[in-house]
């Protein structure tokens, strides 16, 4: 039984695309088949983060409009052969997506893959609502910061009203993934702490991804963070989150970046 996940947030720049790539790769490494779908039509990024930007021929819009067949548009990852990408179009806009077309594509993807992970665009307009429309479960990516949390709350409201599951009276499963978390800044009160975020959103926590330079380094290399350096703090946190999605019960720990500890020690010595 395949699972359709949507990675969404409302707010831009919180790490939806990074999360989609990292979780997709982490699940694919276990041998299950995964496709990551870029719904950010007109502002596509997932191809870059996956390092597949030079292999895009057809895209989601072509498939939705029937110009290309799904296998023609799918790009198989060169590192993990159970991982595929369905890129978005960069030249079209989100109005080119139709409800029926998306329904058909998702149905075809369900038949081919164990996991369909949809990378939602920011905002609450057509692109975002269609990305979540046919999902079984949602990962709401949130930064520990008030505007991000409020936008996430708005998205949760939409997940409970605008998705197919919600319209059928079923409940869509929802997880919170906190990204760019800095334990030291949260302790100093410069950032919301985990409890505040969960208190506001009142949803289960899937994982806490620490703020790390490694994330940007991996995206610039076109590699999902979980593949670039699997021992780095964000990679371990994403792998834990992926394991939780696969049904494992792991304790919630906030991985430390070894480098930041090192820096802290240096800082203390200097002081």
């Amino acid at each position: 039984m395949s699972q359709v996940l949507v990675v969404t947030s409302g707010k831009g720049g919180v790490g939806k695309t990074t999360t989609t790539a990292a979780l997709g790769a982490a699940i694919a490494v276990t041998g299950q088949t995964v496709v990551v779908v870029d719904f950010d039509v007109g502002l596509r990024n997932l191809d870059l983060v996956m390092g597949a930007e030079r292999r895009v021929v057809y895209d989601l819009i072509n498939v939705v409009q029937g110009i290309a067949k799904l296998p023609q548009a799918l790009i198989r990852d060169k590192r993990i052969d159970t991982l595929s990408l369905l890129p978005a179009s960069q030249t079209r806009d989100k109005d080119a997506l139709t409800d029926d077309g998306v329904a058909r594509v998702i149905k075809e993807l369900r038949a081919k893959f164990d996991w369909v992970i949809c990378d939602s665009p920011a905002g609450i307009e057509r692109g975002a609502t269609l990305a979540m429309r046919y999902a079984d479960a949602a990962i709401i990516v949130t930064n520990p910061e008030v505007s991000s949390v409020r936008d996430s709350d708005r998205i949760v409201g939409l997940l409970d009203s605008k998705t197919k599951k919600a319209e059928l009276g079923e409940r869509i499963e929802k997880h919170i993934l906190i990204t760019r978390f800095d334990a030291a800044r949260a302790a100093r009160g410069e950032m919301l702490n985990i409890k505040d975020v969960l208190d506001i959103l009142s949803l289960p926590l899937l994982g806490i991804i620490p703020e790390s330079e490694e994330v940007l380094r991996a995206s610039n290399l076109g590699t999902p963070v979980t593949l670039n350096d699997p021992t780095s703090a964000p990679a371990r946190a994403y792998c834990d989150a992926a394991c939780r999605l696969l049904g494992q019960d792991l304790p919630m720990v906030i991985p430390n970046d070894r480098k930041s500890i090192f820096e802290k020690l240096l800082g203390r010595r200097a002081a």
């Binding site: 709350d153 208190d199 009142s202």
Partner: protein
């Protein structure tokens, strides 16, 4: 005076049909006992029938013409003015009596009496219970009565209630109680972080709220056109 205005020369008199809501009194035999009951009722609610159009339903009593005239006279002494009769036939009536009305329908929203002593069983009070949190961007509008929320009310959401608002989680959004003009409506919350509190159109924003009522259980009510907020103890 004759009508010489040419504009009106061809016009007939204007009339149209309108329906009105009237109370219907249904006397029961014996009339004397029934009048005693009316007296005890009006003693509790003086002036209740004054200046109201009242219809007399005679279907439960057998009265001749003279009896009806006497009854209407007795009621007039009690300041109950009969504008029409129901449940009688023309043989009982005469030119001195109010006209016979037929086709009366039950009215849904008759004005309620001032006291509940003789009132029918009150309708169940309207209230809305929401068991899930209210998310940012959502609006709950319930003009008919109270709204109770078991979860939290997010920043950027709003509740509009005709009655009071009760939030058993944290109130972070806007709460507007008494939206239909109810001064007595209140807002209660387990933890007050509201963006705006309003009662019957009078409002206060978060900025104008005292810090000592924030982040704790609080209630809000209206006093002389000022929205008051105090911690719940």
């Amino acid at each position: 005076m004759t009508d010489t205005d040419p504009a009106n020369a061809n016009n007939s008199i204007r009339f149209c049909i309108r329906s009105y809501i009237a109370f219907v009194l249904a006397p029961q035999a014996p009339i004397a006992d029934w009048l005693t009951k009316v007296d005890s009722w009006t003693k509790r609610s003086p002036g209740f029938f004054a200046n109201r159009p009242i219809v007399l339903d005679l279907s439960a009593v057998k009265l001749e013409h003279a009896g009806i005239v006497d009854l209407i006279g007795q009621l007039a002494e009690r300041k109950i003015h009969i504008i029409g009769l129901e449940g009688a036939d023309h043989s009982q009536l005469g030119p001195a009596l109010p006209p016979l009305l037929t086709g009366g329908r039950h009215a849904e929203r008759a004005p309620a009496p001032d006291t509940s002593a003789h009132a029918e069983a009150p309708e169940a009070p309207a209230s809305l219970l929401i068991e899930s949190p209210i998310r940012s961007g959502q609006t709950v509008i319930f003009p008919d009565g109270d709204v109770t929320v078991l979860g939290s009310v997010a920043s950027g959401s709003e509740i509009v209630a005709g009655g009071s608002i009760h939030v058993y989680g944290t109130l972070r959004g806007r709460a507007m109680a008494g939206s239909q003009g109810d001064d007595r409506a209140r807002i209660f919350c387990q933890r007050n972080e509201a963006e705006l509190l309003a009662i019957n159109g009078y409002y206060r924003t978060a900025e104008e709220l005292d810090a000592d009522t924030r982040c704790q259980p609080a209630q809000s009510w209206l006093q002389n056109g000022i929205v008051m907020v105090a911690p719940l103890v």
